[in-house]
């Protein structure tokens, strides 16, 4: 091997990872970094109209400082939307993860029947788009076609309007719970199966009941995956958009600004005010990051170190 060739090969090994990472880097720059930077720039500017606002150059983008942010923070509709989404999240996250954990534990029980079939059935909603899921449930909530109303009417019971007021929160939460439980169940079930068998043998010798085994051994051992599913559920919940947007044609109770994200869309494309929309989007992103990472930091730093390897 000649010296020149050895140098070229050494360079090849050294340069290869950068070459392999090039497509990802270019895509990241174009579709993540640039848009984020642009959104921040927009959020700090506003449109100023000169003179009568006619002709080219009559509309100027000028520095606005934090004006868009102070406007957004003091916007009562944004605050109301944030409260709605917090209420919605307070139902979705605990119920969805509670059910996911329950089903995962049941799947992991000895002598359980129909486990493969039920596991697949519970996972099935993952394959159904949120928009279609919201449509299916939306129809099931409509008094004219709903089987629930059919039963309620026959029994002479009161028929609550599922698409208004408090029940609307439950109705929307149900769509998210239905769509997300299966995926989280699989994540938790996978880590349950990774628990070594010896642990159970020891518990059995000590005379532990299945319930005690679940509470004292299984749940503590799957805490890392519970933390992970909680983390991703918070992010997904704060960004709810498709489901309320899909229910909008079916009811007047879902406004165009029901969730903060819907307000961003409405500001940007309904009102054409991209600057305040950008400021609101940045605020949502910051709140999401603070809440999700705050949770993660508080929960554990151990799993993160393991994941980084």
């Amino acid at each position: 091997m000649t010296g020149a060739r050895r140098i070229r090969k050494a360079y090849g090994v050294r340069g290869a990872p950068y070459l392999f990472l090039l497509p990802a880097a270019v895509l990241f720059a174009l579709f993540f970094a640039l848009p984020i930077g642009y959104a921040m720039w927009l959020s700090l500017h506003k449109v100023q109209v000169k003179g009568l606002g006619l002709g080219a150059g009559a509309r100027d983008e000028v520095w606005a400082g934090l004006e868009n942010y102070t406007d957004a923070v003091s916007d009562s509709e944004l605050l109301a939307g944030a409260l709605r989404v917090l209420g919605y999240g307070a139902i979705v996250v605990p119920v969805m993860l509670g059910l996911a954990l329950l089903f995962a534990l049941m799947l992991d029980t000895e002598r359980v029947r129909f486990a493969p079939v039920t596991r697949l059935a519970i996972f099935l909603p993952y394959a159904i788009p949120g928009v279609v899921a919201a449509m299916l449930w939306g129809f099931l909530y409509l008094p004219d076609v709903s089987p629930f109303y059919f039963v309620l009417v026959r029994l002479g019971l009161p028929q609550p309007d599922l698409l208004d007021g408090g029940p609307l929160f439950v109705a929307l939460s149900n769509i998210a719970v239905w769509g997300g439980t299966g995926f989280n169940m699989i994540v938790i079930y996978t880590s349950l199966r990774a628990i070594p068998a010896e642990v159970y043998e020891a518990a059995k010798l000590d005379g532990a009941t299945p319930l005690q085994t679940a509470l004292r051994i299984k749940i503590p051992m799957v805490v890392p995956s519970l933390v992970l599913t909680f983390f991703f559920s918070i992010i997904a919940t704060l960004q709810v958009f498709s489901e309320p947007t899909t229910l909008k044609p079916l009811t007047n109770s879902v406004s165009t600004t029901w969730s903060p994200l819907m307000k961003v869309y409405q500001d940007a494309f309904g009102k054409g005010d991209i600057h305040s929309a950008a400021a609101t989007a940045v605020i949502i992103a910051l709140v999401t990051l603070v809440l999700s990472f705050g949770f993660l930091r508080a929960a554990n730093s151990r799993t993160r170190q393991e994941a980084a390897r």
Binding site: G12, R113, L238
Partner: protein
């Protein structure tokens, strides 16, 4: 995986009752509470699917007059109506969704494989920084990206194009993360080193040696990304205005929006929703025979 097998076989086979087939342990009593809980959960998850299957068989008048779970007589008519709606634009939407999800997932898998392999196998300056920056992308709310992406696409004259929906979704932080885990677990460092000893170039080692070893993981990345793109609504909702380019989610949504004024369109929405669900459910049923769902959460045999 092994733990399950161990626990299964640990079940005592003693005390074989007379009359049972020789060589087979007796069926043990099913655990009632867990089985019942799972069956209730399965029913809950299947309810809307069962509803849409039955509702799609109803004609417009039957939909509002007969009991919900009573099959109707209008399925053929609904299909004809759906085919005829705006010269079969529904099938155009399905085709678009297949294109966005199929091509998008393929590109995404390729990028994930390259990056995941590089991050798992090579030691180089800034490796963890690159990884962490890429991972931060998963935390960015789509909306903070989507609006500036739209404006930037508009600058490049690319809004309302196939590329505007396809390109922003190619880089998937979750895909890179999974590919890295699989590469680290499935591609031994000494095999890469042996390839170098034999004088193979880095790209050749990747395509000929590492890539085949990473296939099971990459199938997972592909499926995950396929579902993510197929189910995406926000990006096409923002980018597209020409309904010839709509994916199925956006197409059905506009159909439902019009349906709120003309309930006759409801039967079209319902039939369309059923047919939109079929491909992905079929994909999962076929794939799950040889692909473990567990892979989705990044579980690797070590």
């Amino acid at each position: 995986m092994s733990s399950l097998a161990v626990r299964k076989t640990a079940a005592p086979a003693a005390g074989t009752a007379p009359g049972t087939a020789p060589g087979r342990p007796p069926r043990r009593r099913a655990a009632l509470v867990p089985t019942a809980t799972l069956l209730v959960g399965a029913l809950y998850c299947l309810l809307p699917v069962a509803w849409v299957v039955i509702a799609a068989t109803k004609s417009g008048s039957e939909l509002f007059s007969t009991f919900t779970f009573l099959p109707g007589t209008g399925f053929a008519g609904n299909l004809t109506d759906l085919n005829a709606y705006r010269d079969g634009v529904y099938w155009k939407w399905m085709g678009n969704s297949a294109l966005y999800a199929g091509l998008g997932a393929l590109l995404s898998t390729a990028v994930s494989a390259l990056s995941g392999y590089a991050l798992a196998i090579y030691r180089f300056r800034g490796r963890e920084t690159v990884f962490n920056v890429l991972m931060a992308g998963v935390l960015m709310p789509p909306v903070i990206l989507a609006i500036p992406q739209y404006l930037l696409m508009a600058e490049a004259d690319l809004t309302d194009s196939y590329a505007s929906v396809l390109l922003p979704l190619v880089l998937s932080p979750y895909g890179v993360y999974l590919a890295r885990i699989y590469a680290a677990a499935a591609v031994p460092a000494d095999i890469v080193e042996a390839g170098r000893m034999d004088g193979a170039g880095e790209l050749r080692i990747f395509t000929r040696i590492a890539l085949p070893m990473m296939v099971p993981g990459l199938v997972t990345v592909f499926l995950f990304q396929f579902v993510a793109v197929w189910n995406n609504f926000l990006l096409p909702y923002i980018m597209l205005s020409d309904d010839e380019k709509f994916p199925i989610t956006l197409g059905l949504f506009t159909l439902l929006e019009q349906g709120s004024n003309t309930p006759a369109l409801y039967t079209l929405v319902i039939t369309g929703a059923l047919l939109a669900v079929v491909p992905l459910v079929a994909l999962f049923l076929v794939v799950q025979r040889f692909w473990s769902l567990d892979l989705l959460s990044g579980a690797v045999k070590s």
